[in-house]
Amino acid sequence: MSGKTESLTGPILLMRGIGKQFPGVVALDGVDFRLLPGEVHALMGENGAGKSTLIKVLTGVYEIDAGTIELSGQQVAFSSPLAAQQAGISTVYQEVNLCTNLSVAENIFIGREPRRRGRIDWKRMRARASELLAGLGIDLDVSTPLSSHSLAVQQMVAIARAVDIEARVLILDEPTSSLDAGEVEQLFDVMRALKAQGIAILFVSHFLDQIYEIADRMTILRNGRLVGEYLTRELPQVELVAKMIGQVLADLEKLHGEARAFDEPLVQAQALGRAGAVEPFTLTIHEGEVVGLAGLLGSGRTEAARLLFGADHATGGQVVYGGEPAALRSPRAAMQRKIAFLSEDRKRDGLVPELTVRENIILALQATRGWTRPVPREQQDKLVAKYIAALKISPAHPEIPVRNLSGGNQQKVLLARWLILEPRLLILDEPTRGIDVGAKAEIQRLVVELSDGGVAVLFISAELEEVLRLSHKVGVLRDRRLVAVLPNDDELTTEALMETIARGGAR
């Protein structure tokens, strides 16, 4: 494979015949990969194709079962992320892997803090951290704990950390999933500057537009195998998607034609609010209606959804459900009224990692019945099999621990958990984040199906196209306030939405 294409200098990184197995899953099977200095190289593939595993193998998180890795022509085997880092490979992993209990500055510098006479020079560290973040267009108090910042900021912090390490290879695994457009541009500027310095960048993203904007070449994986290596400019998007999912994908149209009138209001939030989280808002959701919630991260979208599910206590207002006031004191109370909530942070608020796929799927159903009335095993197996098939969960084995599944499949497991309950209102908080095109389309199609079947859906997403494609009406949040509720008619475009978000008022 080496020397096949146009490289003048040799590849800085060369991986050959990489194989990696987990119990019940072949994650990588004879994968070749190379990275040239001064290029941005996209690693493409669906969820579970093996992208994250390849990166973790490369950075010493996992040992490889087969194959070789060469860095600058020398064979290497990293025993730990530290060793990889020392060899000049700097990584931002998919899920933000930082210590939220430490300050922002520390998260950037921990392990290589500036020191003076042996002691950590906190002043200099904070100053340097502020500088670095400023370079990424972020201005904040770097002495505050990371936990007090949004996921987007956390992601930028992770990037700042990786960028600052003197690296020859920079790996960015889904760095943009929670960034807004401006932040992505900032990041790309940084990437271009690094590229100009001859640093090789490995880039993973599910946003195809971003790939085409920044990447020079791409390597495509499918089911743990190599599909091929291509120059970005020579591979049209449609072909790329076809290669990733192994089939041609039907075009995604606006799935819901236009705003229509609904008769039965199912859930009404009346001046519902929570001090410090989201200001009182009023919103009506009808049966069969898809309501989109748009807004930047931290605009109060998730907080609003949590109030509707009783995950947090409201400090004002009320929820009217089916015409009657409903006190949603706990998620249980909401579930009894057939409200379901797919949370944004699946690792923290969704999965029970060591339980099996089956157990994770039936958890909510069992919870509604209490521990004294178990769901009969045959019924469990039937339900689980049904949803594994319906949602194409892979591997299609109900008895493996859910932590062994890829991110997208874990998301489907959680979706199955709620679908089993046959909810009348389904709240989906960023259901498609970090998920490949195929799975994304499946989830979108599912939303349409559910809505056609009379289920009300509250759909939260950072991707405005997606919100527009699915929703009957769109609520816009800004600075913890619901600033507008817009019917999804012909006039409503992504531009119009963005303007509303930016201006903070109705059209």
Partner: protein, 337 residues
């Protein structure tokens, strides 16, 4: 079953050591219409530990820990014996003791689940105060009682089998039913595996936690009855002293992680048997009292090392099967592949 392989091997090894020192160690005879022999002794004396460990398993599975079981053992025994010494009926005494135990356990659960105190500290409170409570009940004296019906619980026989063993079997069966046939086990594992996710899935975590601590205390209370019945006396200060450490050890040897989540009842029973066999071994092979603890430390270390997959891989040279695509097994936060 695979998970229980190593505990089984260790137990077998320990028994083997005994056979070398005590030739008729494995023989079980009928004497005075009872089963009699060293193996029966191990089961009989291990019964309280097995009970306490069963309760402890569920607590640990929720990610908690209960240091107060030893004190509950003392309180329960003390209260029952006090009642009996004051001519109360055995049934009433037993019911009262177990009732108080459940109450104390629920108190622990309340502190952990509702007030939100870290389990080790929440139960430390009762561990300290409970010991005092037990002595308050006995007035610092050893209450001696003569009551054949009460004696049955810990020292008697039913159908030639020591009643204590039957009691453990019954509790084990009930526990297994609750957690595996009913859905308690799943919900406990969910709460222990990810408490916030369980709450959002509608699991009544608080209720589950309170139930679990109450159950642990009930088991401890029963063990307390057994211990006091066995010697026909209640010793507020010494009954169940440090049993919590042995119980935690038994749970861990049985393969349940202290971080919560998955648990194994069978493993726990095996773990408790290993510890009791170890104790009996120390007595029978004549380890001098000064080196008893040293011996125990040695065996515990060896047992835990053999149990550790990492140890087997690194030292015994087995090819290591990664338990999960996470580099550090047994860690709370796992990366998804």
């Amino acid at each position: 079953m695979r998970r229980l392989l190593w505990p089984l091997v260790i137990l077998a090894l320990l028994l083997l050591v005994n056979v070398v020192f005590t030739p008729n160690f494995l023989s079980i005879q009928m004497r005075d219409g009872h089963l009699y022999g060293s193996l029966i002794d191990i089961l009989r004396f291990g019964a309280p530990l097995m009970l306490v460990s069963l309760g402890m398993t569920l607590v640990i599975a929720t990610g908690g820990i209960d240091l107060s079981v030893g004190s509950v053992v003392a309180i329960s025994g003390a209260l029952a014996c006090l009642q009996i010494s004051q001519d109360a009926g055995v049934a009433w005494a037993v019911a009262l003791a177990l009732g108080l135990s459940v109450l104390l356990g629920a108190w622990n659960g309340f502190l952990v689940a509702t007030v939100g105190i870290q389990p080790i500290i929440a139960t430390l409170i009762l561990m300290v105060a409970g010991r005092g409570l037990a002595q308050l009940i006995t007035d610092g004296q050893i209450i001696t009682i003569v009551n054949p019906a009460y004696k049955l619980i810990g020292g008697g026989y039913l159908l030639a089998v020591p009643f204590g063993i039957l009691l453990v079997l019954a509790v084990l069966a009930v526990t297994a039913f609750l957690v595996r046939r009913l859905a308690l086990g799943l919900l406990i594992e969910a709460v222990g595996g990810n408490a916030e996710a369980s709450r959002l899935a509608g699991v009544r975590s608080k209720g589950i936690i309170i139930v679990v601590y109450a159950f642990a205390a009930l088991c401890a209370g029963l063990a307390g009855l057994m211990i006091s019945s066995n010697v026909s006396s209640a010793d507020g200060n010494n009954a169940g002293l440090w049993i919590e450490l042995d119980a935690i050890l038994a749970v861990v040897i049985g393969g349940t992680s202290l971080l919560g989540g998955r648990f194994s009842l069978g493993g726990t029973i095996l773990g408790a048997l290993i510890i009791q066999t170890l104790t009996t071994t120390i007595y029978s092979i004549g380890v001098p009292p000064e080196t008893t603890l040293l011996f125990k430390a040695l065996v515990v270390t060896v047992v835990c090392l053999i149990q550790s997959p990492a140890f087997r891989a690194k030292v015994l040279g087995r090819r290591r099967r990664p338990p999960a695509p996470g580099p550090v097994p047994g860690e709370k936060v796992r990366v998804s592949a």
